[in-house]
Amino acid sequence: MYFSPILNLKNSALKALFALFITFLSFQAVANQENKAEVTVTTGEDAATHSEEKFDPTVTILEHIGDSHSFHLWGHTSMPLPVILITPSGLDIFSSSNLMDEHHEPVAFTSKYTYLNEEEHIKVLGANGEIDEELSNKIYDFSITKNVFALFLSVAIILIIFLSVAKAYKKTVGKAPKGLQSWVEPIIIFIRDDIARPNIGYKYEKFMPLLLTIFFFIWINNLLGLIPIFPGGANVTGNIAITMVLAVIVLIVVNLNGNKYYWSHIFKPDVPFWLLPIMWVVEIIGIISKPFALMIRLFANITAGHIIVLSLISLIFIFKTAWMSLAAVPFVLFMNVLELLVAFLQAFIFTMLTALFIGTAVEEHHH
């Protein structure tokens, strides 16, 4: 890599930042290793083998990319998050530390009912100590889990950034942007000129808030998911429920804004009349499948990236030797930098496809 333009800079603050960035990336692999070591100790407790805890990479990886009722900080420390349940006999709120013992094994806890945390689903135990499936289906789990906490955090970050930039714009009316504005402005102009205007046409202003929100929400959540320690490290955009909500929003916006020509292309395309029934089926599937593809694309890209990094680190534990880290850590570093690119790219693609779909919905008739 050609580093000398950066290293020859007069601005030593920038050099320091660059050095921090590189060391941060290297520490990330080490931090992941330590996380991994402690997690194997705790998950190996109930393994069938005794003296040597067998490292199960699948369990560890799924644990790291999945949701959880407590936020694992470092080593044996984790931050228990509140459990909020809506049960047939009212609201039940308690700390999730009640649901696990000091080895993070699930333990039953009695409040309004007796609860047991079976693989991050809260189930109700009947009188005989068995899981009561019917009653478990009646409690609704509105807990603050790791993903919800990370969602709140990223929303707070987005609000802080954009509210302060908006305030700065009001103060420096007509003058050059300074500070955080200078970072945000090129990105917003990029979305307006390269994504919104070419695809939507002259009506683009109505949809700019949606496109900007989608872009920054996905980008900042992807980036937070790549940070290995608290407060990052929660796999938010790799959760299919969250990407599904984004896709449903796109579906609703596109179809509510469809004009006469959009719906006439769907229900009265230019085909012989006997083909119309098949065309209806195909077009309706088309309406659903486009946001569905958006959902799966974002979910799979982000989750796959996390799984790759976690698998490479797990290699060190499968081979049980520290020398493996000489091979694994550079690879992990490379994959992480690639994931940085993927974080931006997936946000860009989601936003661009949304703009494209909105464009097809509001397009004027020109034949």
Partner: protein, 71 residues
């Protein structure tokens, strides 16, 4: 037999992704070689097409994950 057939399915899907993105990248290289001034436009279009092809391959990976039935 060790492992599951879902893993074979995921591997086959990646072949498709590799061929697709390879084609896109190759044509983009040719285009840039013919007209270097248009390099940034071609690059943008190439990235978009690559992300779409990769999305389809990841559909298959998701199906493989769902259909994984470990013995």
């Amino acid at each position: 037999m060790v492992g599951s057939i879902a893993a074979i399915g995921a591997g086959l899907a990646v072949i498709g992704a590799g061929i697709g993105i390879g084609q896109v990248g190759g044509k983009a290289m040719e285009g840039i070689a013919r007209q270097p001034e248009a390099a940034s436009k071609i690059q943008t279009a190439m990235i978009i097409a690559a992300a779409l092809v990769e999305g389809v391959a990841l559909f298959a990976v998701v199906v493989a994950l769902l259909g994984n039935n470990p013995t």
